[in-house]
Every structure is written in C-alpha cells, then in structure tokens.
Amino acid sequence: MKSLIAVHPDDPEVAGHFEDIDQQRESSSLGMWTFLATEVLFFGALFVGYFVYRVRYPEAFRRGSEEMNLWLGGLNTAVLLTSSLTMALGVHAAGHGDNRGIRRFLAVTMVLGLAFLGIKAIEYAAEAHERLVPAVNFSTIPPDEAGLPSARQHPRPHQVELFMIFYFVMTGLHALHMIVGVSVLSFLFVLTGRGWFTARWHNPIETAGLYWHFVDIVWVFLYPCLYLLRQG
C-alpha cells in the first residue's frame, strides 16, 4: 500500500484530487506556511510570558542571562545559520533534480542540526552543574568549583528560577522542533536515495526546508532574548 490517495489519471506525480502539479505545489507550500503561522503563535505565547516577567523582574532576569554561556550560544547560532544555508542549497539541488546534491546537503544539514543539539546538551549539563535547573537542583546560592554552595559568590535573586524555567521550556521546545526536523530530513534522505523526487516534484523537500528555516529563525529570537540582554 503505497498511498491511500489515488493518483491523477494524466500525471503520475500529482495526487488524484488536484487538477495539476502547480495546484499541488502551491497547496503544499501554503499548507506549510499556515502551519508555521500556528508555530509563531505557539512560541509567541512563551515570548510574551517571558517578557512580562522580564519587565517585572529586570534585575533577576539580567542575572539569569549572565549565567548563560555566551560563547556556546554564539557558536550554536553560527552552526544553525550555516545549516539553513545548506538546507537552502539542498532545496536548490532538488529544483534541478540533482539527487546526489540533495543527499549531500541534507546530510550536512542533519550533521549541523545534531551538532547544535550536542552543544545544547553540553550547555544543559553545565547549567545543571551550576545548580540552575528548576525542580532538580536550583539554588539561589551559586556553587564553587567543587559544586558545593559557596558563600564567596553573590546569591541569585530567587526569580532567576523563573528565568530558568522559561529558558528550559523555550530552548527545550526549540530542541524538540530540531529533533523533529532532523527526523524528517533523515526520512527525506532515504526517500531521495530511492529516487522519489524529481525536478518537477519535490514538495516535501521544499516544505521541510521552510520548516527548517523557521526553527532557525526561532533561535535567532531566542538567542538575543535569553543570552544577550545582560550587562557589559
């Protein structure tokens, strides 16, 4: 059972309920754009909550931002922006029916996506070490090198916990989207190997590209909000 949907009688690359290939392509693009509008509101609600609290507790949130690792975050931003470039090159290759090109660029994109997730995991581990994880080990007293509470450090305002909750929910949700993205790309990688896509019909690669760029753009907003709004 290849598909539940009948194929167009005149065109094997078009599903039976569409008139022609243009209608099919425009529909899948518009569908993905509409889904991305949903996603904007999904993340948007979190950004609103974050800024409501940021305005209410500016000191605590600034302190929270200062706990972030600027360099790892910056590196991750570079990794993700590069992956958007390779994704765009993959879509470009799909437009030329270049299956080897699609596979090459999808592979690079996936590797970059996984690198992002790996760096993010390192950051999470470091934050756990700093006793910054709400509900697990959050403490208003920062630990010293040995991981013990230290009286030498300035205590954190307790709303730093609120900052960290939003940090973990927002970056966690973003990481979840990255995992979904990498899974979709690996699926498309296999399908490309089986010769599913042609220069005429490669909607899934295009729409996966739109999704990937969106997830990238979310990070472009997350990074300054969570990392860069700090002193000095």
Partner: protein, 543 residues
C-alpha cells in the same frame, strides 16, 4: 416488446457510501465525506456524555441542599460537562461534520487539499477524547473547564494532567482541520468560482479556520505550562516564586475567547445558507455577511480580557476591552439585520431546517444583547460569575451554535444519506428544543441577576423556583434532542430516497447526486454565476 426491468439510479450508481462496506474502508478513508460522517458519529457520542453530565447537574440542583451527588462529585460533573461540550462537541461540531462534508463540494473540488491530514485530524480527536474519557473513568477533575491557576497547578486533586493532555491533543486536530480548510479554499476552487461567488458557509468556515490556526497553539502552550508547573512543582504562575496567575488568565482567554467564535462563526454560515434556501432569495447584503465573518475573526482576538474585569486588571485595560467587546457585537448585528432583511418578502417555507434557523435568530439576539450587557464594566461587576453569564453563554452556544448545527444536519441530511426524514417529527423536535431551551435558560438570567453564583452545589431557598423551572426545561430539552436521534436513525432505513435537490435550493452541493459520488461530481463543475441566483430560478420545488 421485451420488458426491461426498471433499475433505479441509486441502485447502480457508485456513491461514497456504497463504494465499500468494509470497516477498513471507513477507518482508513481519506474521503472528506466519510471523515465528516466519522466526526458526526464521534461528536454525537461526546454530546451524549456531556449532556448526561448536564442532566445530572440539573437533577442535583432541583433542591436547595442538592439532591443527588456529593459536592466533590458535583464539581467534577460541571468540569466534565464544560470540557466535553467545549472541546469535544462545540468546537469540532460544524467545521468537522458539515465543513468536512460540504466545503470541498461547495468549492467544486474532489477533496480537501490534504486528505491524509484530514484523517489524522480525526484520529487525533479520538486519541484526545480517549484521554479525557479515561480521566473521567478514573474520577475526573474539579477545576472547571477554565483550569485557573494556581488551583489547577498546585491544589486540585484529580486527573488534571490527563484532561489537559486530551485537550492538547484535540487542539492539534483542530489546527489540522483549520490548515486543511484554509488551503482548500485558497487553492481548490473550481474554475469561475471567485471569492465573492463563494457560498457564505464557506466564508464562515474560512474565517473560523483562521481563528483555529492562530488561537489554538496559545492554548496548547498555556496548558503545557500548567502541566509543567503541576508535574515539577515549579511556579510559572505561582506568586510564591514571582509568577502571576493573571498571566495564565490572559493566555487562557487569548485562546478561549476566540474559541467562542470558532463555535459561533460556522453557525452563522449555516444560518446564512438556511435563510437563503428557505426564503428562496439571494441573501440581503452578501458582501456584508461575508466580511462581517472576517471582521469577527479579527476583532475577536482583541477582546479576551473582558473575562477578567474582576481579576485585577487595570481600569484602563478594562475600558479598552469593554469598548472592543462592544465593537465585536457590531458585525454580529450586521448579520442578524441582513438575515431579517433576507426574510422580508421571501417565499418562506417552514420546513424543519427553517424552524431551527428562525429559532436561532431569536435565541442569538437574546444571547448577543446580554453579551453587550456583560461587556459593560459596571454591570459585569454585578453579574460576574453568576448564572447570568451561564445563561448568556448557553443562549449563544446552545441557542446559537447547537441550533444551527441541528438545522444544518436537517438541511443537508438528504444530501449526506440520500434519504429524507419525517418532516413532521422534525418540526415537533425543533419546537420542543426551542421551548425546552428557553425554559431551561431564561430563569438562569433572572436568578443570576438576583445573585446566584455559578458552580455551587447548593443555593439559598429563594432561588428554588428558578432552579426547578430550569431543571424542568432541561428535561424537555433532553426529549427534544432524543427525537432527532431516533427519527434520523430510522430514516437511514425507512426514509424516502431523494433526488439531487430535494429543497429546490441553489448551490454546487445540490447539483451532484444524493449521496454524492466518491469524487463529488460526475463531471468537474464550472461556475458561471453568483452563489445565490434564486432570482433566476424558474422551476418549483419537487415537493
């Protein structure tokens, strides 16, 4: 001469119903018509569950001390009633049943743009519903359908997480349906079917879909935050660690107020179709009716805080939201005036669907005007969280959305099944529902205004007379809802076969056979005229 045996067309033609009778052909169908039927069966079951909860509530309130259940059980009953009726009946009702069945036919397409997503939407609905039913079997929860924090996240006993998960999942069902309809309307219209030739039902469903797509994700993330706060005991909305419960209310109502437009906008669409068909007239002010749907979808996003006038929002915010809430009443009023102007000098046929349509106008006007009362700051302070709000809400939701759903089901039933039902019993049921509804909910306006608060299992004896009237009305209402369940089911076997166009109505759905073939049309339609060209009709109705 040899005699050729007469074989009626319905016995030979392949339709979406007789294509295959195997259960698999239903559970794996990508046909929008079959998915519409699947939704119809599913939401009817949920309506029965939610209705049963309402029945128990009304029975319990027969006496001031409460007659039937313990107080804790009462709290779980009204929560169950709200959750089931809002998310598992009202929100999916018209879009997923009538929208799924009719929207592709009305735009002259063979199916929706993404048939497999459409099926996924039904499965998500069933999965989300299962979570909620499971929570109910385990004992339910008592937060009310609004899940206000910190009660829901810190204190409530019961299965809050399970119910929230169910709503979260069903939200994605709603989003997928919305995406599908938006793309279908944009991309799949038949040749010649310009935007301003679209039936008003399509305009209403389109506006609804926009709201579904933009509002539902906010609910999803809000409920997810409540779940995170509840599981890990971190205080996102907890004042003890600096969180703000009012932020939850903002986020919740940012979805849940537009959600009432998700429920009522499709009802407006059905109403426009019914009024036009049974007045045999082009709707007065087509453009105004279409654009008022869009206006409601937009302004509806800007009124959410009128649920929070007593939650400690600033007086200036209150003023602005009060004004915007009154403004959103204007496009609704435009619709009502246009429907009434359509009736004027129309050739009115008082068939069953038309009785629902006329009932809708009366009940919706009462519900809408009391809504304007509630939008005024001073009066809202007085009646906030009283039965006045309950009555207002039910006049819109039951008097509006459910009446329109019933009218729509009766109008398109011959198209969906190929058979007609008993119009006599249909009219009896419509009148019973109208009377039962008013007897149930009008006393609630009075007792609410006199000060009876909502969500209480007991009340002072002076409210007894209103509560008894209301409970009596509820039993009539229940009988009214039972009747269609019986005669519509019977019609599947005993109903007379109908032709393509039993009402003599105008519209693409009446040009194809009843029930429609698998791909909706025998030959692809080309549209050459406006949607409601009743003034050009020359024939008379079949009956």
């Amino acid at each position: 001469m040899t005699s050729i045996p007469y074989i009626p067309a319905y016995a030979t033609a392949e339709t979406y119903l007789n294509r295959s009778y195997r259960i698999r052909s239903w559970l794996l169908t990508v046909d929008h018509k079959r998915i519409g039927i699947l939704f119809m069966i599913s939401i009817t079951l949920f309506f029965v569950v939610g209705g049963a909860a309402a029945t128990l509530i009304r029975l319990h309130l027969l006496s001031p001390a409460g007659t039937l259940v313990r107080v804790e059980t009462y709290n779980r009953l009204f929560t169950l009633h709200g959750v089931i009726m809002v998310w598992f009946f009202l929100i999916p009702s018209i879009p997923t049943v009538l929208g799924n069945f009719l929207l592709p036919i009305m735009v002259g397409a063979r199916d929706v743009a993404f048939p497999k997503l459409n099926l996924a939407s039904w499965y998500l609905f069933i999965i989300g519903g299962s979570f909620t039913i499971l929570a109910m079997i385990f004992g339910g929860t008592d937060t009310g359908w609004t899940f206000y924090t910190p009660y829901s996240s810190q204190f409530a006993n019961g299965h809050v997480i399970l119910v929230i998960t169910g709503i979260f999942v069903v939200g994605f069902s709603s989003i997928l349906t919305g995406i599908n309809f938006i793309v279908t309307v944009h991309q799949m219209r038949a040749p010649g079917l310009t935007w301003f030739r679209l039936p008003l039902f399509v305009w209403a469903i389109y506006a609804t879909s926009v709201v579904q797509v933009l509002a539902t994700p906010v609910l999803a993330i809000t409920l997810a935050l409540v779940g995170i706060e509840r599981i890990w005991r971190v205080g996102i909305f907890d004042p003890a660690v600096g969180g703000d419960p009012v932020l939850f209310q903002h986020m919740f109502w940012f979805y849940s107020h537009p959600a009432v437009y998700i429920m009522i906008l499709p009802a407006f669409g059905v109403e426009s179709e019914l009024i036009a068909a049974f007045s045999r007239k082009r709707p007065f002010g087509y453009g105004f009716i279409a654009m008022s749907s869009v206006a409601i979808a937009i302004i509806g996003f800007l009124v959410w805080a009128h649920h929070m006038f007593v939650s400690g929002i600033s007086i200036y915010a209150g003023l602005v939201f009060s004004l915007l809430s009154m403004i959103v009443a204007v496009p609704s009023a435009i619709k009502v005036f246009n429907w009434i102007a359509t009736l004027y000098k129309g050739s009115i046929a008082l068939k069953t669907p038309m009785l629902y349509a006329l009932g809708f106008i009366g009940l919706f006007v009462i519900g809408g005007l009391t809504g304007v009362m509630l939008a005024t700051l001073g009066l809202d302070m007085h009646v906030h969280d009283t039965y006045f709000v309950i009555a207002h809400f039910h006049y819109i939701m039951v008097g509006g959305a459910v009446m329109a759903y019933m009218g729509g089901i009766h109008y398109w039933w011959p198209k969906m099944t190929g058979r007609s039902y008993s119009d006599f019993w249909g009219r009896i049921a419509a009148i019973t529902i109208f009377l039962g509804f008013n007897l149930t909910f009008f006393p609630q306006f009075v007792m609410g205004y006199l000060g009876m608060p909502r969500r209480y299992a007991m009340y002072p004896p002076e409210f007894a007379v209103y509560n008894i009237l209301s409970s009596a009305g509820a039993s009539i209402l229940a009988a009214g809802y039972l009747l269609p369940l019986i005669y519509l089911t019977l019609s599947l076997k005993y109903g007379e076969r109908v032709g393509n166009n039993p009402w003599g109505a105008v519209g693409l759905e009446w040009e194809t056979s009843s029930p429609p073939p698998v791909h909706n049309f025998h030959k692809p339609p080309v549209v050459t005229d406006e949607a409601y060209a009743y003034h050009k009709l020359k024939f008379t109705p079949e009956s």
